[in-house]
């Protein structure tokens, strides 16, 4: 998996610890979005033809193409279903999170 990871953020306690005005390092994600997900996409790697349509159209960028098999970053996948809908070979199925 090669996706940005959440940082361990310690809230500033003193004025000196606050940035000068509201600014912050970029790519500074705090917490995960998995809680927004009702359905979880599951890739059937045997069916997948690696066309990368799902990688391309994922609004989250949660599908990682760096390995031989595509991986989904479940920390940030919201389960919107675009990947499954756009998959031309039906390699992605959505499973209810409670049943996954």
């Amino acid at each position: 998996m090669n996706r940005p990871q959440p940082v361990n953020f310690v809230p500033p306690k003193t004025l000196a610890e606050y940035p000068v005005g509201p600014c912050c390092p970029s790519a500074h994600i705090v917490g995960i979005n998995a809680g927004m997900r009702t359905f979880r996409p599951i890739i059937d790697h045997a069916t997948c033809v690696h066309c990368l349509r799902c990688f391309l159209v994922c609004p989250e960028g949660a599908i990682d193409k760096s390995e031989a098999d595509l991986e989904i970053d479940l920390n940030y996948c919201k389960g919107c279903g675009v990947c499954a809908h756009e998959c031309k070979v039906g390699a992605i199925t959505l499973v209810k999170e409670t049943e996954a």
């Binding site: 090669n2 996706r3 940005p4 959440p6 953020f9 809230p11 509201p22 912050c24 390092p25 970029s26 790519a27 500074h28 994600i29 705090v30 917490g31 995960i32 979005n33 927004m36 997900r37 066309c51 990368l52 349509r53 990688f55 391309l56 159209v57 994922c58 609004p59 989250e60 960028g61 990682d64 193409k65 760096s66 940030y76 919201k78 389960g79 919107c80 279903g81 675009v82 499954a84 809908h85 756009e86």
Partner: protein, 296 residues
Amino acid sequence: MGLNAQNITNEELFYGHKACGGCGAALSIRLVMKVLGKRTFAIVPPNCMSTVAFIYPSMTFGCSGAITPFAGTAAFEAGVEAGAKELGLTDYTVVGFAGDGGTADIGLQSLSGAIDRGDRIMYICYDNEAYMNTGVQTSGLTPYGAKTTTSPAGDRLPGNTKAKKNVFEIVAAHDIPYAATASLGYPEDLLNKVAKAKAVNGPSYIHIFAPCPTGWGCASELTVDLAKKAVDTGLWYLAEYENHEYTLNRNPKEFGDVKEYLKKQNRFAHLKDEDIAEICRIRDAKWAQMRTHWNA
């Protein structure tokens, strides 16, 4: 060979945002950033994207970014560009990401000014056809017949009574070096237009058709599908303006089923057949003009 899913970077520069599932705006930014890379100043007015991307302490842009006053996306960009140039910075892109309201309505003045001055900035309009961040109000880019919270549909009105403002051609009328329309339904086309815009030594503009499942009242998995159908039905078009000329990138012989496109969206659920006929009439008039006057 152009950019595509195979050769585009795996690196994400818009990641971990709190947008709704299936957000077309977020996908637009994500794809654009893949082409622009990390040496980018991303300027975003107050809209859904700044709201989900810049909440202290959670920052989802991987590049430099800032929230600008709503009406001033292009002006802020112009300032960044001028400052960066004066400080001797090289090899960077200044891009703005504004929605349809931030572009066609409140931001139009500053967009016009920046294009007119020839500032080297890129401006992306992600068009989801209403003010979504404030709860789906009509914008200058809301299409005819769409129901919003300020263009209700009832016995007297069919929802919004105006066709979309033609921002692409307003921008082109400045004789901008490069402008294009795009759709999330054709992501490879979008990537390559962004690459083209990035290379322009002057202002460039890309107008992306970007569905909003929440605002449109449709299933979240339909974002890309609806964006493609909008193009296939002729309700949106893929075009470019460069070298003082318009070019139509897709010129379908036959349009897809408009009713099928509309009926997947709650914002159009109320439309009667005559309203749909009016939508088709607006479409056909636009295509007749484009096919006559533009390179196809």
